[in-house]
């Protein structure tokens, strides 16, 4: 049995009067790939964003790598160890691809510029974009930008990665190049939590699939269980609409 890297108990999140998460319990083991699916507005992105405190939980507890997330002091420590990939890439437009990658390792990890560059170039090579090191983000396609964003997160050598609908803003023909990178990451044993609408990816790469609706985890299990034998009616409904 592997250790739990992320432990979430009784997590609640309210935006004003609206309760988006109504008590979530979730453990993610080391090297596990957890895929979160569910209708839009169900709270799945909020759940992901609570893990690295981009959203401050209204209640409950989030423990990452043994560190409880409850004060500013710990937040940066935890964020160093968890990479995040956003739907809209969020690359830094005033920097080249290489500069995007080396900034945080230099400022946060204290890496020397040469080390950071070496690491960055290795990672760019891994996502197939070594020749774009000196380009600016705006000259890249959406799929390329997202691969750079993944490389940027990896450059911090995180122990886990969070993906917030990483392919939702992409043109259909670019989705696979991003999913391929994520597949190879999973194969290398990266701990991953992925919010996505790509059911093929969820089925193939996920160790565990969660169906979130109305602020609850309604159903969870292996991809086989959730996709082929959903127990809950709402899961069946959701799957019938998108599959």
């Amino acid at each position: 049995m592997k250790n739990d890297f992320i432990k979430i108990t009784g997590l609640r999140k309210c935006f004003g009067d609206l309760e988006v998460l109504k008590g979530i319990d979730l453990n993610v083991a080391e090297q596990e790939v957890v895929v979160i699916i569910g209708p839009s507005g169900s709270g799945k992105s909020t759940l992901l964003r609570c893990i690295n405190y981009l959203e401050e939980p209204s209640g409950g507890e989030v423990v990452v790598d043994g560190i409880p997330l409850n004060g500013e002091a710990h937040i940066n420590e935890v964020r160093k160890e968890i990479g995040m990939v956003f739907q809209r890439f969020n690359l830094f437009p005033h920097m080249t691809v290489l500069e995007n990658l080396i900034l945080a390792p230099m400022k946060v990890r204290g890496l020397h510029k040469d080390e950071a560059k070496k690491l960055a170039l290795e990672l760019l090579d891994k996502v197939g974009l070594a020749e774009k090191a000196d380009s600016y983000p705006e000259s890249l396609s959406g799929g390329q930008q997202q691969r750079v964003a993944i490389a940027r997160a990896l450059c911090m050598k995180p122990k886990a990665m969070l993906f917030d609908e990483p392919t939702s803003a992409l043109d259909p023909e670019m989705i696979n190049e991003v999913l391929d990178v994520m597949r190879s990451l999973a194969k290398d044993g990266m701990t991953m939590v992925v919010v996505t609408h790509e059911m093929g990816f969820a089925r193939e790469v996920g160790d565990r699939v969660l169906f979130v609706d109305g602020g609850h985890i309604l159903e969870e299990g292996t991809p086989e269980e959730v996709f082929n034998h959903p127990k809950e009616e709402r899961t069946q409904n959701f799957l019938s609409k998108i599959l």
């Binding site: 981009l54 964020r79 160093k80 956003f86 830094f92 437009p93 005033h94 945080a104 946060v108 997160a153």
Partner: protein, 219 residues
């Protein structure tokens, strides 16, 4: 009506010296205003409620009262409080910088807030602190966007600095008044003064344009 070119010619050296002082006071004021404005705009974005409140009071007060009244406050009211006369140059510079600071603060705030909030999130999610993200990611992008409004602020200051003539500070407008008192050639002199202001603002507008383009190509 006679138009006496000789008078303009004779007055020109004095007027141009006055224009030099106008440029000096505007440049110093906008420079100090930049420092004040940058500080105030960052204060207004932080979590410290009291500082934020003070920042808002400052900006609201300055933007809600005329510069002329602010100059009077510094030149006439301040001495009553501190029990000491205030030098006209000091009064002119401090009134104009404090005034400019409030407008620059608003320009900065607009620039910072125009940056997509995903940029802050990306920086923070990489483990950088709020201040590091501000410094390396948000501010460099914001600076590029605020060059045009900062150019406008400088142009406005070149013109508004004419108000310090009322406390006898001898910049371009005051020089014009003094020459007219001697020569009675109000049409010629005011026309010359207007053209000198126009020339200065025109040059600044063009320089802003150049700066804008330079920042745009080099990213």
């Amino acid at each position: 009506m006679d138009f006496n070119v000789e008078i303009i010619k004779n007055a020109l050296p004095l007027l141009l010296a006055g224009a030099g002082i106008t440029i000096e006071i505007s440049a110093i004021s906008v420079g100090l205003g930049l420092a004040i404005g940058c500080l105030v705009s960052i204060i207004r974005l932080t979590q410290f409620r009291l500082l934020r409140y003070l920042g808002n009071v400052y900006v609201d007060f300055i933007r809600g009262t005329p510069l002329l009244v602010q100059i009077f406050l510094v030149y006439f009211a301040l001495p009553a409080i501190i029990g000491q006369r205030v030098d006209a140059f000091f009064a002119a510079i401090s009134a104009c910088s404090i005034n400019s600071g409030a407008y620059v603060a608003e320009i900065f705030r607009g620039g910072i807030q125009s940056i997509d909030k995903g940029q802050m999130e990306a920086g923070r999610s990489l483990g950088m602190s709020w201040w590091q993200t501000m410094r390396y990611i948000i501010l460099p992008q914001a600076f590029k966007r605020i060059i045009p409004p900062l150019g406008n602020e400088f142009i406005a200051m070149l013109k508004d600095s004419s108000l310090v003539s009322v406390i006898g500070f001898e910049e371009l407008t005051r020089r014009g008044q003094l020459i007219i008192a001697r020569t009675y050639a109000s049409f010629e002199i005011w026309l010359a003064v207007a053209l000198i202001y126009l020339l200065m603002t025109f040059v600044v507008a063009r320089l802003t344009g150049v700066l804008e383009r330079r920042f745009d190509t080099s990213k």
